[in-house]
């Protein structure tokens, strides 16, 4: 085996766990007691860098739990899913799944879904810049062509349906301190995430509208998606839903059948 690889394995083990120090110390020149202290400085830096990255991606989760508790969560997450890449901005995709069923947050059952929403927001914030379709995208299409059309969405657009009022929780936390007051935490909600210029926006969607957009986002035709939405709410009116999408800039372009 390469001597360099062996050195890095042993040094890395000492950065992962103090128990690894015994094998790393013989690699180092100079006073072992001082080297032991310095290995602990390196170990603390690696932990702190990972925690800072997770906190940056999940600020509302940290607001909900408090910083100290959040740092402990992030540390446990790092123990189970360490960073694998040189870019810490990409670290944390697995954090929501890590929180699922994690015993210490049993009192905050909505936290994993708030984390899912925050990861979608994190992704949207760095998605490619794109000009949304203008408000006349669907104008002039005959009903038959529209029914068979499929839609493309702007980069960063995301939908999530949750058993918790995630959009309300997130929106309230970005505005005020005691942000859970007055929210019905038993209410399921669908959240939509999109970019408006450089700003990431979040809104709640009604269940039928959520079904419509999830189907369209999954490349179902307009007619098929409408049927899906009507199955959720027979009185669903797609007019206001499309108006909202065009107004907010969710849509990028339309594929008519002859393009497919």
């Amino acid at each position: 085996m390469s001597a360099l690889r062996e050195v890095q394995r042993r040094f890395g083990a000492a950065l992962t766990d103090a128990a690894g120090e015994a094998d790393a110390l013989p690699l180092l020149a100079g006073d072992p007691a001082r080297n032991r202290a310095l290995l602990s400085v390196y170990r603390a830096t690696a932990v702190a860098n990972a925690i800072a990255a997770v906190r940056l991606a999940f600020p509302v989760c940290a607001q909900i739990t408090g910083d100290d508790f959040f740092d402990a969560l992030a540390r446990r997450f790092r123990d189970s899913s360490p960073s694998t890449e040189g870019d810490l901005n990409r670290y944390g995709a697995g954090f929501p799944a890590f929180l699922d069923g994690f015993e210490p947050i049993r009192a905050l059952p909505y936290l994993p879904d708030v984390a899912r929403l925050e990861w979608a927001i994190h992704q949207a914030s760095t998605a490619a810049d794109a000009e949304p379709a203008d408000g006349r995208l669907l104008a002039g299409l005959d009903a038959d062509a529209l029914a068979r059309a499929r839609l493309r969405f702007v980069p960063g657009f995301a939908l999530m349906s949750s058993g918790w009022p995630v959009a309300d929780i997130w929106l309230r936390h970005t505005e005020e301190a005691d942000a859970l007051a007055g929210i019905d935490l038993t209410q399921a909600q669908c959240a939509v995430v999109w970019r408006e210029g450089w700003r990431v926006r979040v809104a709640a969607l009604a269940p039928a509208a959520c079904a419509l957009w999830q189907a369209l986002y999954g490349r179902t035709s307009v007619a098929g998606a409408w049927a899906t939405a009507c199955a959720v709410d027979p009185a669903f009116d797609p007019g206001p839903a499309f108006a909202q999408a065009l107004d907010a800039g969710w849509l990028h372009s339309i594929d008519l059948e002859e393009d497919l």
Partner: protein, 280 residues
């Protein structure tokens, strides 16, 4: 791009609005490359706006050139895309490792300076330079421990690396000073062993005194000893841009600009006294 004796500061998020609005006279701005490995969005947009007014130096912290694990092609691809988009004046990385057996510590970790390591780092640097179609500057590291198996000094390792790959040197004077203090050496001796002809950028920064010795925190003003090293480098005729590096406890933009002015003044005075710059 010839930045000569230019001075620069890091472009940091709390200063974005003020810097873009006031556009202070600066020779260049520097960013951590990884913070702009994005398809789009606000931070990349700000960097592009800054680039319209200033040369940009891209300073990487995640390439881990000395990792025995093998290169990260996707990381290099993202760097190449950013280089293509920003057309930077400099692209730099650290002489360090960070990843082993698939795990990345996201820190700048030291390694033994051996022939094996030299061969690996040289191959990695050459591959990155081929991909970027431009030279890479490699920065001397602040390393808190040293290895029994080292066969040469960091300065000799960097000199060999420059010879083997044609890369440049990002001379971090604070790192040089921190290492010299921590290991009871003379920073000017260490400076004399480095390949001055290859210096493509200089960093100055502050450090912290701790119970473990000096730690390279980039969180305070530059100390007198590091200014003295900068004057020595200028007096030796090194004409490369100097960056005031400040990453933690970020001060006001005005204080940072003041520190950059000091860096420029120190360098110009020393260079003029040594006859490397004609008096205006």
């Amino acid at each position: 791009m010839n930045l000569d004796l230019a001075t620069g500061i890091g472009l940091r998020q709390p200063h974005y609005a003020q810097l873009l609005a006031e556009r202070p006279p600066l020779g260049f701005v520097e960013v951590h490359s990884e913070n702009f490995f994005h398809a789009g969005g606000a931070s990349l947009g700000v960097l592009e706006r800054a680039r319209a007014h200033y040369p940009v130096s891209l300073h990487g912290v995640g390439l881990a050139l000395a990792s025995a694990d093998g290169g990260d092609a996707a990381h290099v691809d993202r760097l190449a895309a950013l280089v293509e988009r920003i057309d930077p004046a400099r692209v730099s990385e650290h002489l360090c490792w960070g990843r082993i057996d698939g795990r990345h510590f996201n820190d700048l970790l030291p390694f033994p300076y051996t022939a094996e390591a030299l061969s690996l780092v040289a191959a990695r640097v050459s591959a990155v330079q081929d991909r970027l179609k431009r030279p890479l500057l490699v920065e001397n590291l602040s390393a808190y421990v040293r290895f029994r198996d080292s066969e040469m000094s960091e300065a000799d390792f960097l000199s060999e690396l420059v010879c083997l790959t044609g890369c440049g040197l990002l001379l971090d004077l604070n790192n040089l000073y921190v290492n010299a203090c921590n290991f009871g050496e003379d920073a000017f001796d260490a400076l004399a062993r480095l390949p001055m002809h290859a210096v493509g950028e200089i960093h100055v920064a502050g450090h912290a005194q701790t119970e473990y010795g000096l730690i390279d925190t980039h969180g305070s003003r530059v100390c007198d000893a590091v200014w003295a090293l900068l004057r020595a480098v200028r007096a030796a005729g090194v004409r490369a841009p100097v960056l005031v590096e400040w990453d933690t406890d970020l001060p006001s933009l005005d204080l940072l600009l003041d520190e950059a002015t000091r860096a420029g003044d120190a360098g110009r005075v020393a260079a003029r006294e040594a006859g490397h710059v004609r008096a205006a």
